[in-house]
Amino acid sequence: MRNLLRELKKHFLIYILFVKNSIMAQMEYRFNFIGNLAMESGYLLVKLSYVMVVYRSNVTINGLTPDAILLFIGTFVALTGVYAGMFMINMYGLRNKIKDGDLDIILTKPVSVQFMATLRQVDLGLFSVDVIAGAVMVIIAWNRLGIPVTFLTIGGYLGFIALSCVVSYCLFLLPQILSFWLMNTSAIAEITDSFWDFNNMPMDIYTNWIKQIGVFVLPIFVITNFPPMFALGKMPPAYMAWALVLPFILLAVVRAAWSKGLRSYSSASS
């Protein structure tokens, strides 16, 4: 147990260095860095205008008021930042690393190979704009809905956000692991990536059977629907139990697939 905690602490410290190095590497190109920040700030304004769209259209979905819809959209936008800025950038790189034999050096390092190969890069621009925009939307919606600010509601919401991060990491890494056998999986990855956008509105807009598939079979809806559902007190017990079990199931599946894939890693001739 002590060893496990030691390893977790080590990996956490290395992750901080990865984040720091990624940001510093982007800052080395001053013009590009500042230009990106300016462009992302523009996007931030555009995303914040979603708030206006939701209220102007005044739509209600299965009893969800515009305030509740904003809570869902805000959660989706924030998690999109996490996905795009922390995971996607690495996952797109992974298939090239496998194809070009660039996992070689990583495989010799005394840290988790999966950790190093899938979390090494962070894109500050992609991450920050969406997370800030999403957080602003959630805060506005939270206030207007009058959800109490307690340890349980805030802690629970953030806990579900953390579980959602794990689910999205696993769910979108799995197709990339196929690269160990297929080498190029860009087509599969593009299809699975497009599933992300199923979350840009509450899952209540879909029919019941699509909802059940999206929760239990291909659990894409779990990612951005469960945190606001918890905050709104609309979380059925079955979903609650599923939300707590699913990340562990997916982590186990990803670990098994990763280990099997790594055995098939054939590097590339130098």
Binding site: K10, L17, N21, A25, G101, K109, P110, S270
Partner: protein, 330 residues
């Protein structure tokens, strides 16, 4: 023994595609799977503190062997123990004790100064602050790159970058170092500096070094023992300078003459390898060196005379040719 290898083999699957779009379309539906045996049943041992060279032409299996010994690749069959571990089990304790440097693959962050990557490696290998500072100071001093630590890696020359790669690999003071073509593409001065450094490091730290290189000078200068590998099999193992003992034992006689002589004049003494102006090179049977030398000195206008072994490169080339001829006949 720090490395024990028994009947290690590695095969890769691949397929061929004939020229043109038509064959690309055909390939969509059917591909004939072919298997290439990159390494075939090799066995050898390496002692602690040894510096050993792997030599061989492109595609001989040198890098594949190194990749199996460092745990990057799983073998198709066979066994290996490195530092007491099975490398492809990739145990943390194993990884903490060795390093690999690949001339064609970088571990430094391209857009950052090297010191950021070195610090990252310090954390990855759990090196104490004090040990890190002293190792860094020692290695940068030895490789003469102290002033370059704060320079973006992409701004460094190839030689400087390779020196930084070496420092990154050695920051945790590994017991065993795999070097895959560490001098590839470097100028002569950089090659020499890196060779001197490796020699010093091996002597001072008693680290075991396994080196692959295309450059004979790397292996000749650094390694007492070499393993020559061709078409996935070991064709020679031992002192590199004994490669020529395997052949029909020739000697080289180099002459500087005071007057010009004809090709026929020289051919009377042995095989004429070169005749340019007043310089000539002859290849003669080792057993007759004494008699032929005496005759040359008596009959030709010699002002300088040298007897040498056949260059190692030629011995190795003969070794490869003999192997390939054997395969062609088989």
């Amino acid at each position: 023994m720090i490395i024990q290898v028994e009947h290690l083999s590695k095969s890769f699957d691949y397929y061929k595609k004939e020229l043109g779009l038509k064959n690309s379309i055909k390939n969509l539906f059917h591909r004939e799977k072919l298997t290439k045996a990159a390494v075939r049943e090799i066995s050898f041992e390496i002692a602690e503190g040894e510096m050993i060279g792997f030599l061989g032409p492109n595609g001989a299996g040198k890098t594949t062997t190194l990749k199996m010994l460092s745990g990057i690749l799983h073998p198709t069959s066979g066994q290996a123990h490195v530092l007491g571990y099975v490398p492809w089990e990739r145990k943390k304790a194993f990884k903490m004790q060795f390093a690999i440097v690949m001339g064609q693959k970088a571990q430094l962050w391209w857009d950052l100064p090297a010191n950021e990557s070195l610090y990252l490696n310090k954390c990855i290998y759990e090196v104490e602050d004090k040990a890190y500072q002293s190792t860094l100071a020692e290695l940068t001093e030895l490789l003469d790159v102290k002033d370059l630590l704060n320079v973006q890696v992409r701004r460094l020359s190839l030689g400087e970058r390779m020196k930084m790669e070496l420092i990154a690999a050695l920051i945790h003071r590994p017991k065993l170092i795999f070097l895959d073509e560490p001098t590839i593409g470097l100028d002569i001065l950089s090659q020499k500096k890196i060779r001197e450094f490796l020699k010093y490091y091996n002597q001072q730290r008693h680290a075991t070094i396994v080196l692959t290189s295309h450059y004979m000078a790397d292996v000749e200068n650094l390694c007492k023992r070499a393993i020559i590998i061709n078409q996935g099999q070991i064709v020679f193992e031992g002192d590199l300078h004994r490669v020529n003992d395997l052949f029909a034992q020739s000697k080289i006689i180099k002459l500087q003459l005071s007057n010009t002589v004809t090709h026929a004049d020289l051919a009377a003494f042995g095989e004429v390898r070169e005749l340019t102006g007043l310089n000539a090179t002859l290849q003669v049977p080792r057993t007759q060196v004494k008699e032929i030398s005496k005759a040359i000195l008596d009959q030709l206008p010699v002002i300088d005379f040298n007897i040498e072994d056949v260059p190692v490169e030629e011995g190795i080339a003969l070794l490869f040719q003999r192997r390939e001829a054997g395969h062609a006949l088989a």
